[in-house]
Symmetry: C2
Subunit: 135 residues, 2 copies
């Protein structure tokens, strides 16, 4: 394991470690068109640059906020296509943002209701609630 190869590019194992994504998944993302072009060493081994790591982090964010794989791929396709489609990228990101905001608000509402229920249990008000169905 070469810790600092030329150009500070990382091996797949190293990239996996710093991003928290397994090597299996990293290859899967690449196969599935979620990655931009990943460099290769003359040997054919993948070399992850700082840019790749940043991209992986972005993909992770999008995934963690519920964007489906196919949509991440659509976004990656746009970026790979180069300049001229910024409006489309923006539309895609905005649509996602709106969905995330809505989902966040919904979960927050549900959370409040659950907290209310917990409070009911904490104040021994349970008997008064008839059963467990309130909220």
């Amino acid at each position: 394991m070469s810790l600092a190869t030329v150009d500070t590019a990382l091996t797949i194992a190293e990239a996996a470690e710093v991003t928290g994504v397994t090597t299996h998944t990293l290859r899967y993302y690449e196969r599935d068109g979620l990655m931009l072009a990943v460099d290769r060493a003359p040997s054919g081994h993948r070399r992850y640059t700082e840019r790749d790591l940043g991209w992986i982090r972005l993909v992770t964010r999008l995934r963690a906020t519920g964007m489906p794989i196919r949509e991440v791929r659509a976004y990656a396709d746009l970026v790979r296509a180069g300049d001229g489609n910024e409006a489309e990228r923006l539309a895609l990101l905005r649509a996602h943002r709106d969905r995330v905001r809505a989902q966040l608000a919904e979960v927050a509402t549900h959370l409040e209701a659950i907290e209310f229920k917990i409070a009911a249990y904490e104040t021994q008000a349970l008997a008064c609630l008839g059963e467990d169905t309130a909220v």
Copy 2:
């Protein structure tokens, strides 16, 4: 379709409509132990009371906040077991609440990053970002 039967108990189709859960899923939940005892008409048909509807709404909240089916079942088991295990129910709900809060915070963080990226696109700062990897 009897709109207002005795006791205002609803048929499965009506319960499905007011809760937004399909009849298929309603039966699935019952089979899987997620429901408390659902009443039956003399004919054997399910009759959903207001209490059942409240319970379904609770289950929906728990599911919508990411609680796995098996954990909802565990909670339902406790409730069905009757009095004396309130501490366990409380612990289960609190653990869930903590997970939801954490997940909410995480998603919020990711959302901010995505919003930052959108802002970058909006200000045409994209060219300055080298490519699309920032954030």
